[in-house]
């Protein structure tokens, strides 16, 4: 039925200074109601100081099947890690 309220993904900033984190989803007719519903469902006990809502259908995701090539840690490129370089102790911490 097309009349079903669309699905929204909910993100909460737990405390000042932290990023918003995905906490779950819910159905709501529009963004304003999604925020109100998210407040009622996901922040009843001090869970956050800010809310983002995004329509689930607006999210694009990487394909799990391509996890390998996509997130190849490039272990052959060891120079990306600071430990690749030998800095003499006399120089101090760097």
């Amino acid at each position: 039925m097309t009349n079903e309220w669309p699905l929204w993904e909910i993100f909460i900033r737990g405390q000042h200074g932290l990023s918003h984190r995905h906490v779950g989803s819910l159905h709501a007719p529009d963004a304003e109601m999604a925020i109100l519903n998210a407040r009622d469902v996901y922040t009843r006990r001090n869970e956050g100081v800010s809310l983002w809502v995004v329509k689930s259908s607006d999210i694009s995701a990487s394909a799990p099947g391509r996890k390998g090539p996509m997130f190849d840690p490039s272990n052959d490129k060891t120079y990306r890690h600071p430990t690749f370089f030998d800095i003499p102790d006399e120089v101090g911490s760097m």
């Binding site: 009349n3 079903e4 819910l26 159905h27 529009d30 109601m33 009622d40 469902v41 799990p64 099947g65």
Partner: protein
């Protein structure tokens, strides 16, 4: 538990050698304790079993609001009323978390709710028992949520990521539920003789249905093996029941109430209580729809759904209008 009779594939568990390469890689991820996420490949049976279990669990949270909702308007004090209201509101949230987890498996919440309303879906047998007086609010929070906690704490380790995360969130809220219930029991058990008698009566009536919450004995639970192999289920029915009995009997004793089971004794050797099985015939009757409140519960759910339709549709119409105006 909140999902007491979840049909799985109905077949035995395959050995690793009998599996296709995909199935085998999947099983090995589960055995290694990895979480499965929505877009990952999964066997059809895994998906179907999960949808059944998570939706039954969700329906139980939603229908579970009714026995306690029954007493919100009649709570003895404003404080007790506010507490009960907050508890029941949490349960609505639990239903929502679970439906959301089920939706990540490609089903729609509207369809799941239709199944519930049409009587095609199951929910926990416990919510088909009546709540006759205020003492029942104590016994429900303490025993029913207490039993649910045993199960849900274990389910935090379930293999499906969204289900596991919903359990983590739910468990954070459950201990409030059990404690407010026990608090009511302490008040009543320490009150007048008549109040203490009410507390005992509530315990006597809810003890057996609470034991049934964990589902039929392991020996009779046909679908458990595959669910355990897939870590959709992480504790057997009998293990959960034993854990619940072991934690609850000392709590009964602290209240100064009688354990409703004459034969419940601590087995010194095993460190566990021995106890009498509930009446499994009654359990299966309740599951089939013949419990004291099955008809009432479904009627109440259908009424709420039908009477809320104008509101859901109105908000949707408003949202569409706003969207057109913005374009």
């Amino acid at each position: 538990m909140y999902a007491q009779e979840v049909k799985s594939t109905g077949k035995g568990v395959k050995a690793l050698e009998e599996m296709s390469a995909e199935e085998r890689a999947f099983q090995e991820r589960i055995d290694a304790g990895e979480k499965i996420e929505p877009k990952d490949w999964m066997p059809d049976g895994y998906r179907k079993t999960l949808v059944r279990q998570i939706s039954q669990h969700g329906h139980s949270e939603v229908v579970g609001q009714l026995p306690e909702g029954n007493w919100i308007t009649r709570a003895p004090t404003l404080e007790r009323k506010s507490i009960l209201l907050a508890k029941v509101q949490d349960e609505a949230g639990h239903g929502l978390y679970l439906y959301s987890a089920a939706e990540t498996l490609g089903v729609s919440r509207a369809d799941l709710i239709d199944d519930l309303l049409a009587g095609r879906a199951k929910y926990s047998s416990i919510f088909n028992y009546p709540t006759l007086n205020w003492a029942d609010m104590g016994a429900v929070g303490w025993l029913v949520d207490g039993a649910a906690i045993v199960n849900q704490v274990a389910l935090q380790r379930t293999s499906y990521g969204p289900y596991s995360r919903a359990m983590v969130r739910i468990c954070k809220e459950e201990s409030f539920h059990a404690r407010q219930g026990y608090d009511i029991m302490m008040k009543m058990a320490g009150g007048t003789a008549a109040q203490k008698q009410m507390a005992q009566d509530a315990l006597d009536r809810l003890w057996w249905p609470a034991l049934m919450m964990f589902g039929p004995p392991d020996a009779d639970s046909v679908h458990s093996a595959q669910s355990m192999a897939w870590k959709i289920k992480v504790m057997t029915n009998d293990e959960g029941r034993q854990k619940f009995v072991d934690q609850t009997i000392p709590q009964i004793e602290y209240l100064g109430l009688e354990v409703p089971d004459q034969d419940a004794v601590l087995d010194a050797e095993s460190g566990h209580y021995r106890f009498t099985d509930p009446d499994w015939r009654e359990f299966f009757e309740v599951l089939k729809g013949n419990g004291p409140c099955n008809v009432d519960r479904l009627r109440a759910r259908n009424m709420a759904h039908d009477e809320g339709a104008w509101f859901r549709e109105g908000l949707m119409a408003h949202a569409k209008k706003q969207q057109i105006a913005a374009e």
